[in-house]
């Protein structure tokens, strides 16, 4: 966690934006094992399915108020991708979440928590540009989908109704859209995705909209040189970037000034890629956080997961 001044933070945003634009431009010449901290650039061939599961541990703290809030979230999203055609891929995401908030109330330290199935995501991605060369491919694919209110948003604990930010589900139908790019060579891969989600409300509460730009660079570190035959397993060193903006939440028509803001994460990671499965891990570390009011800052997010491809 790093606090920075207003002036230097604005310089950092411009630096981030320029770096991302340069990355996107450079991307017009890269390839694909897939990013770790975002889903939308996964390659799926016609009739093939990819099952992806992850465990994500998130810790948020840095509460400046006497409440001393500390939030721990464990999420286990399961992603199923299906290649409906060589260009159209369909995705479904169903997460399990466990949220725990430790907070001081009336001088006593208490814990509020909620667990269960979260909101499901469904989206489709269509490849509009595909440029293939020997050992090299470039793909550009817009995508669109819907977050559906599968998860509960009315759980209670010993202290009553759990706050909405702790509920496993949002209760709302939230459409989203974006575009994904992938350039992959035998030596390295670059993925990028830009996405916007329009959050609608449910039961008097609306989460702020979310906009994000993700980028992932993967460099093959093993084997250092490719043998002349076969399909060897690759180990990639990975560096990802997540620039995320969240709007302010609204409750009963009143905007919450202590919610939303801008976060830029950097995530170093590792991937082990074979022809049948991928093992991967990354740690998202916030490089810049400019959050509104007393919104909780992220300390880190640790992600570990696997992908397995199969035909029905």
């Amino acid at each position: 966690m790093m606090m920075i001044s207003q002036k230097s933070s604005s310089m950092m945003y411009w630096t981030c934006a320029v770096a991302l634009l340069i990355s996107l431009a450079a991307y017009a010449d890269a390839s694909m094992a897939g990013p770790i901290t975002f889903n939308s650039a996964l390659p799926v061939s016609d009739g093939m399915s990819i099952l992806r599961s992850q465990v994500k541990l998130t810790r948020k703290s840095g509460d400046a108020t006497p409440a001393g809030r500390v939030l721990n979230v464990t999420a286990a999203p399961v992603v199923l991708a299906y290649g409906a055609s060589p260009k159209l891929a369909l995705f479904g995401v169903l997460p399990y979440v466990d949220k725990r908030l430790d907070v001081t109330m009336g001088g006593v330290r208490i814990r509020r928590d909620a667990q269960g199935i979260g909101d499901a995501l469904f989206f489709g991605r269509y490849t509009v540009i595909q440029v293939d060369r020997p050992g090299d491919t470039l793909r550009i694919a817009p995508f669109a989908g819907l977050k559906t209110p599968i998860g509960s948003h009315s759980q209670h604990d010993a202290f009553g109704l759990v706050p909405r930010i702790l509920q496993p589900g949002s209760g709302s139908w939230d459409p989203f859209m974006g575009v994904a790019l992938t350039r992959q060579t035998l030596d390295w891969e670059f993925d990028a995705a830009a996405k916007y989600r329009f959050n609608t409300g449910a039961a008097g509460f609306t989460f702020g909209d979310e906009a994000r730009v993700d980028a992932s660079f993967q460099y093959r570190v093993f084997p250092r040189t490719l043998e002349s035959g076969g399909v060897p397993a690759f180990v990639y060193a990975v560096l990802e970037s997540n620039l995320i903006w969240n709007g302010k939440n609204r409750s009963l028509g009143v905007t919450d000034p202590n919610s939303g803001g801008l976060t830029w994460n950097l995530a170093p990671g590792l991937q082990y890629v074979t022809d049948r499965f991928v093992l991967e891990t990354a740690v998202q570390i916030p490089a810049v956080q400019n959050l509104n009011g007393t919104a909780l800052e992220s300390d880190w997010v640790w992600t570990a997961g696997f992908r397995w491809n199969f035909f029905f």
């Binding site: 094992a33 016609d46 293939d132 050992g135 035998l186 490719l226 022809d275 992908r307």
Partner: protein, 101 residues
């Protein structure tokens, strides 16, 4: 009569390469496909599965470095280039050239 003979000769000349290609396709024991866009192991599996689905394909060996798929063919079963190209396309790649041995 001359015109008829000319037409016959022309027809035979045009048919010869096609007949020769068909014979080559029918007699070949393997086909090597140059696959453009193939650049990670995780993507190679889909290509292998699609090629193996073709009737007449005995086995598939993919060479990541050269970007080629070597398809072993069953004897006396004809597998045409179009079927191989379609399989590569379904896997999400581009077939640039096929050579028969």
């Amino acid at each position: 009569m001359f015109v008829l003979r000319l037409l016959l000769i022309t027809g035979l000349l045009l048919a010869a390469p096609v007949a020769s290609m068909s014979a080559q396709e029918a007699n070949a024991q393997s086909a090597t496909i140059r696959v453009d866009g193939l650049s990670c192991p995780f993507c190679a599996y889909g290509l292998e599965k699609h090629l193996k689905k073709i009737a007449g394909v005995e086995g598939v060996e993919i060479n990541m470095k050269s970007g080629k798929a070597i398809v072993r063919l069953k004897p006396d079963v004809r597998v045409d280039d179009a079927a191989l190209k379609t399989a590569v396309k379904k896997a999400g790649f581009t077939a640039r050239g096929i050579t028969r041995q």
